[in-house]
């Protein structure tokens, strides 16, 4: 920027945060998104049985968030020191708030897995039956809290990077909202794949129909938020214009237009309207869901890499 006096050579050689963070942001989004969607369906339909969608959601949420933790710890330069973050808290720091939220969220996703497979757990580990029964008494409350923390996990990942003032693409108020909605998109897609692949849920069951229906408004809101981000940068000040270049210059703009727009948005729409023959419908179902997840991965990569490339 045009300042009276400044320097051009900062100390960061390429970029500070790299792909493990992008992958974590994706995994946290899938985890939170899957839980939010599955619990909303459960609350909305007053379900009491363990549906395939619920079972999928609990497994997806638990496994993805644990993989996310591996990414986070792996990205530390002093990974063996990571326990320091568990005992020291600074509630001015979004990361610290996130760790506190994860400490509640991760055990709750595990409890959800126990709920989903309660009969199996009681049968195989009979000595745990009393604990499982005790937890089942508080099922509604625990699921309510889990739902809340699902939203917190999705949103905090957005706030985590929106506080970085040096990067105008990241330092925007829309980012947490964009991360929640794209988390829902990836979470829904992961639920579709899991429910069909592992639990053999019929694609035309009423739960799956809901999943399929909510995909479109979620995608519409996601596109809306991206458009809002673009327009706010384009009409913004000099910093905004620097960040706007991320959409038009460099290899990350390709990731945006090919990965996010074409694969993430256009391809699922085209696949949905293409002719559905019985043999193809399975593969189209999987490809369409995978496209959503790849699109969200590209979004996270684009935000992390392009965001840090175009700095002020």
């Amino acid at each position: 920027m045009n300042e009276l006096i400044t320097y051009s050579s900062g100390f960061t050689e390429e970029i500070g945060w790299e792909w493990p963070i992008s992958v974590y942001l994706l995994l946290a989004g899938i985890s939170g998104g899957a839980i939010i969607v599955a619990l909303l369906i459960r609350f909305y339909k007053n379900q009491t049985e363990n549906t395939a969608v619920y079972k999928s959601a609990s497994l997806v949420a638990f496994v993805t968030i644990l993989l996310g933790m591996v990414c986070l710890v792996g990205d530390l330069t002093r990974p063996l020191n990571f326990w320091q973050i568990l005992i020291n808290y600074n509630f001015n720091s979004v990361m610290s708030i996130g760790v506190a939220a994860l400490m509640i969220y991760i055990p709750l996703t595990f409890v959800a897995v126990v709920f989903a497979f309660a009969d199996f757990v009681k049968e195989k580990f009979s000595f745990l039956a009393k604990i499982v029964d005790l937890l089942l008494n508080f099922r509604v409350i625990l699921e309510g809290v889990l739902f809340l923390f699902g939203v917190v996990i999705c949103a905090y990942t957005g706030f985590l990077i929106s506080v970085l003032v040096r990067f105008p693409l990241l330092n925007t108020s829309i980012l947490p909202a964009l991360f929640v909605i794209s988390g829902l998109s990836a979470g829904t897609a992961a639920l579709c794949i899991m429910a069909k692949r592992v639990f053999n849920e019929n694609v035309h069951s009423s739960d799956m129909k809901i999943l399929h229906k909510i995909e479109w408004p979620i995608m519409a809101i996601e596109i809306l938020f991206l458009a809002m981000l673009y327009i706010s940068l384009a009409t913004g000040n000099e910093a905004g214009k620097i960040a706007l270049a991320a959409f038009h210059e460099g290899s990350w703009s390709t990731v945006f237009w090919v990965g996010i727009v074409c694969i993430g948005f256009l391809l699922p729409i085209i696949l949905n309207f293409s002719k559905k023959e019985q043999e193809n419908s399975n593969s189209i179902f999987y490809i369409s869901a995978m496209c959503s997840i790849v699109g969200v991965l590209c979004l996270r990569l684009f935000i992390i890499y392009a965001g840090q490339t175009f700095s002020v």
Binding site: G10, T12, T77, L164
Partner: protein, 228 residues
Amino acid sequence: MSSSKENNRRNFIKGIGLGSLFLGSVQYGLNANTNKENKKPHYAMIYDQNKCVGCSDCEIACQEINLVPKNQHRLYVEDQTKPDDLQHKKYMRVSCQQCVDSPCTEVCPTGACHKDSITDIVTMDIDKCIGCKYCIVACPYDVRFINERTNAAENCNFCLNTNFAKGKDPACVESCKYDALVFGDLNDETAYINKILDVKDAVRLKPGFGTKPSLRYIPKLKTGVYDE
């Protein structure tokens, strides 16, 4: 009956008088305390672009004193001389700006990056650092780095653990042969740094970020007069 009423009133007025005296002195005491707290030092540094010749003595002294690995820097002097005008030399100090509202200490999840309780200088507790790099991406001035030897994040802390602890000026200030660097306490009215700031125009870098850096730069504005 009437005299007891009178007494009541008198006691009431007495009570108010004594109460306000008490509250007043408490208030005074509290004020005296806050005044003392305000006397906390505010250490700052001036870099005079007109005096710096780019000899990089400061860089070398900093690396030696603070045991910074060879290819890394807490402090770096950028050569801003234009290639088509080599006669007008211009240099620029790149280092931690020691912000008053420092984003690095705000975002650090463990409190490893913190303000020293006595001096208010932004510094590191290496043992607490997990290397998440949040402080590095949060710094508006991009002047923090992961030390290759300790794997912990680091910044210029005015030699807090080295020279400052021994009562000396920071290594860069000590080594500068051209008096381009001045270090001192802004809250000490008699300090040399305040006398310079009284008479010279000094600016902060990127004030728009609103982090109130403690580093002041005296910019080289005129092109200079010289014989050919």
